[in-house]
């Protein structure tokens, strides 16, 4: 008996040693990608989030009807769970999708051990969730005044306090198990882009109902990865979904002359994706640890190299520093589809007093244009952005449909002489001898700029603007306010000038041009710009699909914006994304953020590299 126990003990010890020894070995064989987010995530309920980091995780857990081709530039829509991209019907007001049969959600306790197939009802349910008042969806606006009957459904829910997901919405017609047809109130040729957003994805009703208030921590989708571990704001671990059907790299739209496309095709062609076994994501808010963790090979990719370290990463020519190039590190330079700008409040009053920069008379427009010309945009690019930005020429960002790289204007150049001449011409001169310009009626001219006090970058921009205006004799007062207050002030017109930025939700110029559409006042039109000619062109563009005709309308809207100057345009930032040589298949996508399903790791090279 004693002998038996001793043997059993020895056997147990041996087995334990084998298990302990094998566990790290098994991990070492896994393809693990390590990656840092610049900002902490909020959660993974796709209809309740809008920050790019949480959405970037959802991109891998869920699948929408449509997505973007990985390699195509400019971006191109491709079907994901839909069988094909539908042709707009009824003048761009109806879109009908057929979901591919045989797509299953990842296993979850909510399914009680059954395989759960994706159906058209899941898509209908997800879109209703955007309008469920209890969800406080930050993307509710996408489906406002959009689908026939949905506004009424949302209003009834809110008024009665009862949300009936079984109630029919006329504009969301589930024709059979796999077919759903959307009827829109107005023609919208960008609706397909909305349906390709990574959080406009079907979810299973039983999962949402099972987890109640905790849906942020229980994402269950049909995507190539599942959430394995989540230590909020510290660590997110994704693992390959073992039941996923897999993808193949689509090379139809690849540019064979592009080295990134070529490398991705060499690494991924013919392979069943995803290839990664595990992705570890670490939210690191500060720049230095994120940068050092990458250089220390604790991470495989560094997304958006901090500007503070840019001179240690790329030379002014944009080429990688030799010390990094020697290690085989690659840099992907990306002009992001985003824009910074300073809106002027175009109302005649602001902050409860007369607003000299508001209005549409020639003297007011001249003042706004002069203030735009006086701003040292070159200083912003050199000092604040460390050379990693280009000046914006129009309100439309690069990388989106309708952006014209050939369009140039002098309206937002840094031209103090022209600014002074314009101010002199319209009577903004020093009338009381204090060295500062006054209004044509002799009253003092003071421009007030509000910025987010919590952002060092915004403070730098505000200081630069104050200095720029001082150079042309205009007094500016910069006021730092809390971010929440700034948002509110801009919505209720309680500001004269402010700092702002916009990043594309979907790749069409309309997403930017709507920021100046008159009826969007009180929502996204912070300048409260109301120009009938602009509004008419905007409405006309909405009814036309992507075409040279629509692009010509967009150009005309750009010109109106530059002429009336409701904004001082800022910059489009350039980001430098770094990867070690063992990361395969990398190509940054302008809209999709993470794309883990297209990445691969050379485990041997990774192990050798991290040992060095």
């Amino acid at each position: 008996m004693i002998l038996l126990t001793s043997r059993a003990l020895k056997l147990s010890a041996f087995l334990a040693a084998v298990v302990i020894g094998l566990a790290p070995a098994a991990y070492a064989q896994q393809k693990v990608l390590r990656f840092a987010f610049r900002t902490a995530e909020t959660g993974f309920d796709p209809q309740r989030i809008d920050d790019r980091y949480s959405v970037g995780v959802c991109e891998n857990l869920f699948e929408g009807l449509l997505t973007y081709d990985y390699l195509a530039r400019p971006v191109k829509l491709v079907p994901l769970v839909a069988e094909s991209i539908p042709t707009p019907e009824e003048g761009g007001t109806r879109y009908t999708f057929r979901i591919r049969p045989g797509i299953y959600f990842a296993q979850d306790a909510a399914f009680k051990g059954q395989k759960r197939e994706l159906t058209a009802r899941d898509m209908e349910y997800a879109l209703k969730r955007f309008r469920d008042y209890r969800n406080r969806s930050p993307y509710e606006w996408l489906f406002e005044n959009k689908i026939v009957g949905l506004d009424e459904w949302a209003k009834k829910s809110r008024d009665s306090g009862k949300v009936d997901y079984d109630a029919k919405v006329a504009g969301m017609e589930v024709r059979d198990r796999y077919t759903i047809s959307f009827k829109l109130k107005e023609p919208d040729f960008n609706f397909l882009y909305v349906l390709a957003m990574p959080n406009v994805v079907p979810v299973a009703r039983e999962v949402i109902e099972a987890y109640g208030q905790d849906t942020m921590g229980h994402p269950v989708g049909t995507g190539p990865f599942v959430l394995k571990e989540w230590v909020r704001r510290s660590k997110i671990v994704l693992e390959r979904n073992p039941d996923h059907r897999g993808y193949e790299l689509e090379t139809r739209y690849a540019d064979t002359t592009d080295e990134w496309d070529r490398r991705a095709m060499e690494s991924l062609r013919g392979k069943r994706l995803p290839l990664l076994d595990r992705v570890e994501i670490y939210p690191i808010e500060d720049e230095q640890p994120r940068f050092l963790a990458f250089l220390n090979k604790e991470h495989d990719i560094m997304d958006e190299t901090p500007f503070a370290f840019i001179h240690q990463v790329v030379m002014p020519s944009g080429k990688l520093m030799p010390a990094l190039a020697k290690q085989g590190i690659q840099v992907f330079r990306e002009l992001q589809p985003e824009l910074t700008y300073f809106p002027f409040n175009t109302n005649l009053t602001a902050e409860g007093r007369p607003n000299p920069v508001g209005g549409y008379t020639p003297d007011r427009i001249a003042l706004r244009r002069a203030l735009a010309l006086a701003y040292d945009i070159d200083g912003e690019i050199d000092i604040v952005r460390k050379g990693q930005a280009i000046p914006a020429q129009t309100p439309v960002a690069p990388g989106v449909v309708g952006y014209d790289p050939g369009f140039h204007s002098t309206a937002n150049n840094h031209d103090p002489a022209k600014a002074k001449a314009l101010l002199d011409m319209f009577g903004y001169v020093d009338r009381d001898g204090d060295g500062l310009r006054d209004l044509p009626d002799g009253a003092p001219l003071t421009v007030r700029l509000k910025y987010d006090a919590g952002s060092a970058e915004k403070r730098q921009l505000a200081e630069l603007y104050v200095k720029s205006l001082a150079d042309v004799g205009v007094r500016m007062e910069a006021q730092g306010v809390q971010f929440a207050d700034l948002l509110k002030d801009k919505k209720v017109s309680n500001y004269m000038m402010a700092t702002s930025a916009w990043i594309a939700d979907y790749p069409d110029a309309q997403n930017f041009l709507q920021l100046l559409y008159g009826p969007n006042t009180g929502q996204s039109n912070e300048a409260e710009f109301k120009l009938p000619e602009y509004d008419r062109l905007y409405e006309k563009s909405q009814a036309i699909p992507d075409s040279p005709e629509r692009n010509a309308i967009y150009r005309e809207m750009d010109r109106l914006m530059l002429a009336y100057a409701p904004w001082r345009l800022g910059v489009h930032r350039v980001f430098n994304h770094l990867q070690y040589p063992w990361v395969k298949g990398y190509k940054k996508h302008p809209i999709l953020y993470t794309n883990f399903k297209y990445l691969d790791i050379d485990v041997a090279a990774q192990r050798a590299g991290t040992r060095q």
């Binding site: 959660g43 509710e140 606006w141 208030q213 909020r232 670490y282 690191i284 963790a293 929440a484 939700d505």
Partner: protein, 312 residues
């Protein structure tokens, strides 16, 4: 003693009331509208009103205050407005990493500061004493942020002695792999002011009559310092530790951000930036109660350290 403790506990009630009022009105007047942050990029007044209604910030001020008071006494602060996570869960999961860093910091820093202070006080007025005081003054003049940046770069990146940042699920891995660098840093930064302060406590005692008497009676110098001076200097030292104890439970925001430690300090700053009032409320009340309890415990401890102290 029981009467003393009961009296002190009673005195906590007006203090908590003051904290509640202060936090409530500070947040409501200067905290920003959380609905604006939560509403997303584009929102209309109706949506803002809906969010305000769901958060309860559309209710009359007195009603919101009453809800806050109820939350304080039921210890149920609901859910985070930004992540929907239960506030109690946030506190429970974040306090562990904070304590993993801050308790070793407190222990090491106090032991080293007391040891060095008594040594420096013993050689007071000498070149060694002056040199150490100058080094302390210089060390105190440099920003904490500079230390973090330099230590992380030097010990984490250049020398590679520690990971640059990180945190794991394993307590031991955290304690022996990820925590040493932030602990070393915090001890290094905290040591100089503590050493100066404790040195002054020891010097005060060294100049007392009882020390002179002990020496005159021929008590060995080691015994004078360790038995008489150290024991009497423990009262202000205990007070100082008591003052710094609540900070142990909140952690250091800078350390937690730079070393990716999922602690309370980082959580508080995130909550403030996102106008996440339930988290701010819970942490503030928890900290206030903790401070009062620690102060009470320190006062009780005086009695054991110094028999002259009586509970009145």
């Amino acid at each position: 003693m029981t009467a003393y403790v009961v009296r002190r506990l009673w005195q906590m009630i007006p203090t908590i009331a003051g904290v509640i009022l202060l936090i409530f009105f500070l947040f409501n007047w200067i905290g920003g509208d959380p609905a604006q942050v939560l509403a997303g990029k584009i929102s209309n007044p109706e949506q803002i009103a809906n969010i305000r209604k769901q958060l309860g910030v559309d209710q009359p001020v007195w009603y919101q205050l009453w809800v806050f008071v109820q939350q304080v006494f039921t210890f149920d602060f609901g859910r985070s407005w930004s992540t929907n996570e239960e506030v109690s869960r946030i506190l429970l999961t974040r306090v562990g990493p904070t304590l993993t860093i801050m308790i070793p910091v407190l222990i090491i820093e106090t032991c080293l500061a007391v040891l060095f202070a008594i040594m420096v006080a013993y050689v007071r007025g000498t070149i060694t004493d002056r040199a150490i005081m100058i080094v302390c003054t210089v060390a105190m003049s440099i920003s904490f942020l500079v230390y973090i940046i330099v230590f992380q770069w030097l010990f984490g990146f250049i020398l590679g002695w520690f990971p640059v940042q990180g945190w794991s699920e394993s307590f031991w891995k955290n304690l022996f792999t990820y925590a040493p660098l932030p602990i070393m840093l915090a001890v290094f930064v905290g040591l100089a002011p503590q050493l100066r302060l404790y040195r002054s406590f020891f010097l005060d005692e060294i100049n007392q009559d009882y020390v002179r008497t002990a020496r005159a009676k021929g008590v060995p110098e080691k015994k004078v310092m360790l038995k008489h001076v150290l024991r009497n200097a423990m009262i202000p030292i205990l007070t100082n530790i008591g003052i710094s104890l609540p900070g142990v439970f909140v952690g250091s925001f800078l350390l937690e951000v730079f070393f990716s430690i999922p602690g309370l300090g980082r959580e508080i700053i995130t909550a403030v930036n996102r106008s996440d009032f339930p988290v701010i409320k819970a942490v503030t009340v928890y900290l206030a109660v903790l401070t009062m309890i620690i102060n009470l415990l320190v006062d009780v401890l005086y009695k054991f350290v110094d028999p002259r102290v009586s509970f009145k």
